[in-house]
Amino acid sequence: MAQDRNHSLAYVRTDMVQDEPAPINSKGPIAWVRQNLFATIPDTILSIAAILLLFYIIPPMFRFLITDAVWTGENREACIVPGAGACWAFVDAKFSQFMYGRYPVEERWRVDLTAILLIAGTVPLAIPSVPYKKWNTIFVLVIFPILAFILLTGRLGLESVETSLWGGLLVTLVVAIVGIVVSFPFGILLALGRRSKMPIIKMLSIIFIEFWRGVPLITVLFMSSVMLPFFLPDGVSFDKLLRALVGVTLFASAYMAEVIRGGLQAIPKGQYEAGDAMALTFWQSMRLIILPQALTLVIPGIVNTFIGLFKDTTLVLIIGIFDLLGIVQLNFTDANWASAKTPATGLIFAAFIYFIFCFGMSRYSMYMERRLDTGHKS
């Protein structure tokens, strides 16, 4: 490093400094621990407290769920032994009920087939690099619903299965997926309606949104199952599950509309003007320019609504539809399996299933957010 130092202001570097490795104490696991866990005294106290807490919680949890758990057994006898942990034998024995409800055993292949078709349709749709997105979308949004309807309810020569026999995860997924798929376009239309310059459309959208947002979902479900029949002419009746579906969907649409409206408001006026100046029609502008940007912006809010909807499906229990949580709870009363650990085990199982779906949606939405990020906003 031959630097010619003198005391004048002029300075010219003669040798360029070469790259050197970073000091050893600035990287590696020890440096990480020091910087992130023990950087200051409060940090250190909090880190130690957190570690102690984990030591306190994890081992008993592990014992309850794994080592002390009862994995096999024919009935409650297996789970009432002293010191027994989770009664997984109960979940194992009731598993198919948790999945299908009281759907007739010899017809359950139809539910399985529907699930396979759903996975076969949505997985390639969710992976951006798989081609034929157009046909894939048509399959998922048009052909699959028709097939699912035929298979699940029993048409075209298949034996009819009343929706009152449906239950478990089947009902949870039917309510959640129909709610999500239908409330999304509804929400878009309502959001556009609320921002419309046409006063009547705007007014109707506002009334719709504010009404459904202002009423608890439980009230909606109660009204659909208890009050609606009073208003219908004698002899006319709708399927109970269908009524719940309509209620959940309208409810979710109102929330969705407000999330999407937030996205629409974030789009600069110049984007609308650029579309107008190019002679695009209103719907072309919306479809090609405004909505792709607005929806990308509010992916977290949209998925938040989806996740909320997914968990709200448990409320159908109060109108006598047995979704996953409902059917798990129902089985607590089975004298064959009554034990101190049965309810806890059942609820942990149900929570786990809900968590898998909600966490999956959350992760996928984060992936899409990153993928659709094209850098700067206009």
């Binding site: 110049g270 984007q271 100046a277 190019m278 090609l288």
Partner: protein, 267 residues
Amino acid sequence: MATENAVKEDAKSVDRSKMQVSDTDVAVEIDGMHKWYGDFHVLKDINLKVMRGERIVIAGPSGSGKSTMIRCINRLEEHQKGKIIVDGIELTNDLKKIDEVRREVGMVFQHFNLFPHLTILENCTLAPIWVRKTPKKEAEERAMHFLERVKIPEQAHKYPGQLSGGQQQRVAIARSLCMNPRIMLFDEPTSALDPEMIKEVLDTMVGLAEEGMTMLCVTHEMGFARQVANRVIFMDQGQIVEQNEPDEFFDNPQHERTKLFLSQILH
């Protein structure tokens, strides 16, 4: 204006051979037009006749209504009184007529207004494909042709957010040209640009003028006005105060307001 001298220098190099102004073919006719925002009278008695091939520069202080006026020409703003006839079509509430006009009139905005979720190429092909129903392949070829003309074909597959301001504005010009417009409106196209990028955009606009495009430009680039405009319009308080050929306008302004304005900006 910093760029004025530079542009003045090569003013002679501008090819005026194709800058023919038609005597009979009217591109835009504005007749006794008024506009209000609520109770605020923004535009007062605007009369303007633009012949095919004219290059018009509109200048004036901010708030004088110059942007509002050119935005009335493609109906981004609605006028309440008087007549606007563009390319033989009168602008009324008839949406079909408005779309007809917008198909023939390109616009370049101060803030570019490129679509950030689409690539440069998709920005350029969107309107031809959906409005003109051009086949995708043909639209892409045309887009590449115009991107070459504005000298950024290599950016075609990038997103607007990855480009500099000057590049974005040139894309915006190419995007307008892809619709094959008969008239181009420029709404302060260089005002949001870094000083170093103004020239590349002005050069593109000069190129357009040389090919005989009918242009209405709201701009503060007085060098550009002298170089390519055949008429400069000065607006103040929502009215046209003075208009003249550029040399006369700059060297011999008549109205007091014009003199004051020019003394403020040409220092």
